[in-house]
């Protein structure tokens, strides 16, 4: 959570996260750049510039693949949620690795000619009407622009400035970038490979991303949040006994929004399920120190008014709710973010001992 903008609000977990990421990336590059030439022992080795370009390009692909696997893994198994916590650092570093790859390519294949290298990149191959020999560089340029935009707008300032829904939509560009990378590699280096180890790793990585997303989507579809039944303009949620102390029940409202109804010490409150930070699922969070805590980045809200504790300023919409015939009902019309709603006590509630 942040009350002012600083480049990075470091904590121990972020340090550990970045350290693991750096160890992985440095190990990849060290093995590729310095160990593999010795093992290959080619009489006439690959040009260092080409070798370096391949190392950084392959590394960026692996990084992007790992990044894109984290989301669905966290949906499949909540224990992966910590990997989501600092993922944007991973993304920013991927952008720098990809830029290094592009720099080697630009300063080697597109340099030394009478044309400006940036112009040469655009005109050297214009066989856009054919598949074999297609200017695969175009896909790389597109992917790099996407990554640069995402890295440049990764800070919370941009999320607040653009609003979380717009920011989320913008950052969905990562999928287009990945698809472009797949096309870039498929129409480029894979066309000339004789040894197919990279081909196998590449296809395996791309299939892992696609497969995990498909599986997570299927799980969501199968066990997704139900649309609450309507009763006289109110939406039925569940019986109060179905919600444990400190937890929530999530229901889909007719307008497509999700409401999270919390039981806090025997009192029911309803807030929007979407965190004001990155639309994280508040209903899957926990009540910590009397505050609902988002499972993605730990943003907290008072469940009675949807406000983050001072000095923080984030707010989420609240919902009016009532108990009718032992069933929790929610008014589907959300209150403005930060509106206090008197919690509804659960009659005869007693905390069940752990």
């Amino acid at each position: 959570m942040s009350v002012k903008y600083t480049p990075v609000q470091w904590n121990l977990n972020k340090w550990v996260y970045d350290a693991v990421m750096l160890v992985g990336v440095v190990a990849f590059l060290w093995l590729f750049l310095f160990v593999s030439p010795e093992l290959l022992s080619h009489e006439f080795p690959i040009n260092p510039q080409v070798h370096n370009a391949r190392a950084f390009g392959a590394c960026a692909f692996v990084m992007l693949t790992v990044i894109l696997c984290i989301g669905p893994l966290a949906r499949i198994d909540e224990r992966f949620l910590p990997l989501l916590y600092n993922r944007r650092h991973f993304g920013v570093m991927t952008t720098f690795v990809a830029i290094t790859h592009a720099s080697y390519i630009l300063n080697w294949y597109f340099a030394f000619s009478k044309s400006d290298k940036f112009s040469a990149l655009l005109f050297a191959n214009t066989s856009y009407t054919q598949l074999a020999g297609f200017p695969f560089e175009a896909f790389g340029i597109f992917a790099l622009i996407c990554l640069a935009v995402l890295a440049a707008t990764s800070h919370d300032f941009w999320m607040k400035f653009l609003t979380p829904p717009v920011w989320k939509r913008l950052h969905s560009l990562i999928y287009f970038a990945y698809a472009a990378v797949v096309a870039h590699v498929s129409l480029g280096i894979l066309q000339d490979q004789q040894n197919h180890v990279f081909t196998v790793i590449f296809i395996g990585g791309a299939l892992a991303v696609a497969g995990l997303h498909a599986y997570a989507a299927w799980l969501d579809w199968r066990g997704g949040d139900e649309v609450g039944a309507e009763s006289n303009g109110w939406i039925e949620i569940c019986s109060p006994e179905d919600i444990k102390n400190g937890f929530a029940k999530i229901k889909l409202l007719p307008n497509g929004e999700r409401v999270a109804v919390f039981n806090q010490e025997g009192k029911l409150s309803a807030i929007s399920n979407a965190c004001a930070h990155q639309n994280g699922p508040l209903g899957e969070g926990r009540v910590i120190d009397c505050l609902v805590t988002c499972p993605w980045h730990g943003f907290q809200y008072d469940v009675t008014n949807g406000r983050s504790p001072a000095p923080f300023t984030e707010t989420v919409p609240t919902y009016n709710l009532r108990l009718t015939d032992g069933v929790i009902q929610v008014d589907p019309k959300a209150n403005p973010p930060g509106t206090f709603v008197e919690p509804v006590p659960i009659p005869g509630w007693q905390e069940v001992p752990a």
Binding site: M1, F28, S36, H42, A58, Y109, A124, S127, I189, N195
Partner: protein, 254 residues
């Protein structure tokens, strides 16, 4: 809904005990993925053909007759220990530049060339030093040079630039190298055709357009692709020249 007692991670708090072991394994797995992929991809790169600049030979200086195909060739008449008389060299400048402009007006003249050799098995190209150090007309009568017509041929292989093919870049051919090869050709580096089979004892030939013109731009779309093409073949010294008929260019899978 998270209606259970699973450990709950909050980034700015300590990691819950039951999650630590899992996250430790996840960290090892992530690092393991990078180590394994870095090692496997890095250590299975294809070996480029044995080719490259031979700076170790030092600068070579030979004399011969300049021929414009229109791409300039040197028919060596007075060689050295490395480059014997009778050899034909393609000539190129530094970077992605040919030497067409420098050789203009020297056709059929005796000239001295000096530069660095590019070798791919045999020596077929020289990168000339700058200015008159690299190419200059010399006094003397140029001997007549024979050109042997070899008839019409249909060949299968790949169009690329002679400089990268000869090791200026490793790897220096293929579709991933297409843009670079096109830039070289735009810069007047001699284009070559790499054949899948030996033709008259050679696996490559300098290519030109029909009737001694430059390689038509229409052929550029085919760079790096496996194609067949027809044209007239001739031999100049130990160099084959293929006058490609671009109307016969055809992409093939075989």
């Amino acid at each position: 809904m998270s209606n259970d007692d699973k450990p709950f991670f909050v980034g700015y708090l300590d990691v819950p005990g039951p999650l630590r072991r899992f996250l430790l394994l996840a960290c090892v797995a992530v690092i393991g993925i990078f180590v394994a992929t870095g090692f496997l991809i890095g250590s299975t790169q294809d070996e480029p053909p044995a080719s490259g600049f031979r700076f170790d030979y030092g600068r070579q200086t030979v004399t011969g007759v300049i021929e414009l195909t229109p791409y300039p060739l040197l028919r060596v008449t007075q060689g050295n220990d490395l480059i014997k008389p009778g050899k034909t060299l393609m000539l190129t400048g530094q970077g992605k530049f040919g030497v067409d402009a420098r050789a203009m007006g020297l056709e059929g003249q005796l000239a001295e060339v000096s530069g660095i050799i590019l070798q791919r098995g045999t020596i077929d190209m020289m990168q000339l030093a700058g200015g008159r150090r690299g190419l200059k007309m010399i006094e003397g009568d140029a001997p007549a040079m024979e050109t042997e017509p070899l008839g019409r041929w249909k060949v299968a292989g790949e169009i690329c630039d002679g400089k990268c093919l000869n090791g200026a870049m490793r790897p220096g051919r293929g579709l991933a190298h297409k843009a670079c090869a096109a830039l070289c050709l735009v810069g007047d580096v001699p284009p070559v055709f790499v054949s899948t089979q030996l033709i008259e004892g050679s696996d490559f030939m300098l290519i030109t357009g029909p009737d001694g013109t430059r390689l038509p731009k229409a052929a550029y779309d085919y760079i790096g692709q496996f194609i067949t093409a027809e044209g007239d073949l001739e031999r100049r010294g130990d160099m084959l020249i293929f006058k490609i008929d671009t109307d016969t260019l055809e992409v093939t899978d075989e």
